[in-house]
Assembly symmetry: C2
Homo-oligomer: 402 residues x 2
């Protein structure tokens, strides 16, 4: 694996000098530099901070005063080379990691501390077919609002881990064709988000973040090989192999939704035919059921109808589950994970969906593999991807030395 | 990953005390202990060797004299705690690793030095349907013959890496159902081989060893993510992920041959229906072609017929290649490797097989994945698996410290 694809890329945050309010943007950037220097190097004097960040001692002194007032850092008198000096230490409980999940119809933002305690979170709806710009605007505004509501200063932000529902080519940092968000294809999201949010940004596929959440926040921290399958408008998987997220060659892994199920089936948005998504995504279920329901349906409606015993919905779910089981049987045959966790908007279905998935797995896997693979429903619900974004930020090497 | 499944298991060699010639077997075992102690701990005195192996100083002195005569070790005078002593050092060029590949119709043995130079190798035919005992006998006899012919003393043997054409449950060390060698199912091969060969033994699936050979002996040493697909009587894959062999949960990975291609196809030996092996293994090709050829065919015959332009053979290969391409498209979608290498008995076909495989890959993979995945024919031919066996022995941590 190349260095570029080994972990979410981390660009230096860029000042947005061409935008209004660039003075305050510059100050925020300088605060951020000082936070990063303290997170990486531990407590140090103002003079040391000035040397490390390249800022003047006057600027450092000015910023440290503000950060001390807001509780981000604590200062204490010390001596350096025989002179009086001020030692600056980061307040761990003042640091905050951001997780952002951008879906086809929603954006969710989570703020959490280095102890993985969630400070606040909120999800807001987006219109389907939103542009990248609109999605980004919504995420940035929601983040600002949560910062204000929770009284979190911008200087406390360690960075944001952002999940996108589409394959990301890690060579270029762009969303490639086959994404649930066709409007985002070709945009360099890493650059776009970094410039807009003005904090270090880590972009990843949403299913990868969901997988990371299972072994970080979920009950599966001891599992070495785990596949997280997100079932929604699209179907994608995140792979934890040998205890770490696996990225492969160019970063496009877990494209489970494009397993051929029916060689002569419907055309898929990826350009092939009869992919798993054309028979088992929530979009497919909805279009099958709307033919007889004569009213617009959503994923929560499917859960509602199934729990109420609607036969057509149960049949559609059974067929979808069998197809998903067949696709994950191929994954199990190849990868032999301990555990496959299902996530996405249908987790509330429980055994209604799990049963046909398990039947499909046992029907299509090599017997000893099928029998030794556990399939369960994710317990983090819609929050998995944003929580995974927080986990990406908190797992950065610079933090473990703070 | 559990410690047991992290690397090929390495049992202590057991003396075969119940067999004729146990006196010489015991001496060989003691020699082996001394070689292992020197490989692990570096040069040391005879007294230190005695302490480390638990052997008497008289036994150590006796064995060291013989090993010095045969060129396995070099001795030199030294002092230890003020007394004269004899320092014993392993001669690197005297050490030999063994690679053994056991197939349905053949066994191959390779001897090579720590510099990966092949000293000698030979393959002999086996009757199809041989018992585990017969296969093991043939391997042991061929090994003895090669040792005699090359003048290699048993004490120079570091161990043997052995490839088996079937899934191995690493929890128990047994071949599980679905193996090409049904007669071997349920046998604890690690124990059986260790007792019989009386050297440290490492058992692995043959496709895993083939994959290891590609990055060790082949031209692909810089590839981090490589899939080796062995096409023969069965179809299996070995996975190099992030630069190392990947074993998953219980060790049964790469079961590509059991990808469902035709939901209502022929019954497969694994118990499922329409698996890739039922449409693309050499056994299937042979049974299709024998209907009209009216004579018994072998895999080399298929290569011969295709190179001669036989239309039926070319059609059978085209259909098989497309199906293999479809299965590896699912692998590429999931794992996103740089390179997929085809091995097995059909490598002589070159583009005749590669072309339909590539067409199948592009037809069924997510476009950007299909386009960024290279498929090539292995250059090590029938030797890949046995060479991989040598690589397993030479990659043991004890050797790197010698």
């Amino acid at each position: 694996m190349s260095v570029e694809s080994a972990a979410p890329s981390r660009p230096a945050p860029k000042p947005s000098l061409h935008k209004p309010g660039s003075q305050s943007a510059l100050r925020q950037l300088n605060e951020q530099r000082i936070v990063q220097a303290l997170a990486t190097g531990g407590p140090q004097t103002q003079a040391e901070l000035a040397r490390q960040t390249g800022l003047s001692t006057a600027t450092v002194s000015n910023i440290v005063r503000g950060m001390s007032d807001s509780g981000t850092v604590t200062t204490s008198p010390t001596t350096s080379s025989g002179r009086r000096a001020l030692s600056v230490a980061l307040n761990d409980n003042g640091l905050v990691a951001v997780g952002i999940d951008i879906g086809r119809r929603h954006v969710r933002v989570v703020l959490a501390g280095p102890d993985y305690r969630v400070l606040c979170e909120e999800a807001i709806p987006l219109t389907a077919g939103h542009t990248a710009e609109e999605g980004l605007d919504a995420a940035a505004e929601l983040l600002e609002r949560l910062l204000t509501e929770s009284g979190t200063p911008r200087s406390a932000l360690l960075g944001a881990g952002i999940g996108i529902p589409g394959p990301i080519d890690r060579r270029t940092g762009t969303v490639v064709q086959g994404a649930i968000l066709p409007e985002w294809v070709g945009i360099n999201i890493l650059e776009t988000f970094s410039e807009r949010l003005r904090i270090p940004v880590f972009i990843d596929n949403d299913a990868n973040l969901g997988a990371l959440a299972q072994v970080t926040w979920g009950p599966h921290s001891s599992v070495e090989n785990l596949i997280f399958v997100k079932i929604g408008s699209g179907i994608g998987a995140g792979l934890i192999l040998n205890g770490a997220l696996y990225y492969g060659n160019v970063g496009i892994t877990g494209e489970l939704g494009h397993t051929t199920i029916d060689e002569h089936g419907l055309i898929c948005r990826c350009g092939n035919r009869g992919c798993l998504e054309t028979v088992a995504s929530t979009a497919t279920m909805i279009s099958l059921l709307e033919r007889t329901s004569h009213r617009p349906l959503t994923a929560p409606d499917i859960v509602q109808l199934a729990l109420g015993g609607d036969t057509a919905t149960l049949r559609v779910l059974d067929d979808a589950g069998l197809a998903i089981g067949r696709a994950i049987a191929h994954v199990a045959n190849l990868i032999n994970p301990e555990l496959i966790v299902l996530g996405g908007s249908l987790t509330g279905l429980g055994d209604i969906l799990l049963d046909p998935v398990r039947r499909g797995l046992l029907r299509h896997a090599v017997p000893v593999v099928g029998e030794s693979t556990t399939v369960s429903m994710g317990s983090l619900g819609d929050r998995a991807e944003a929580l995974g974004g927080v986990a990406v930020v908190l797992s950065q090497p610079s933090l473990s030395s703070s």
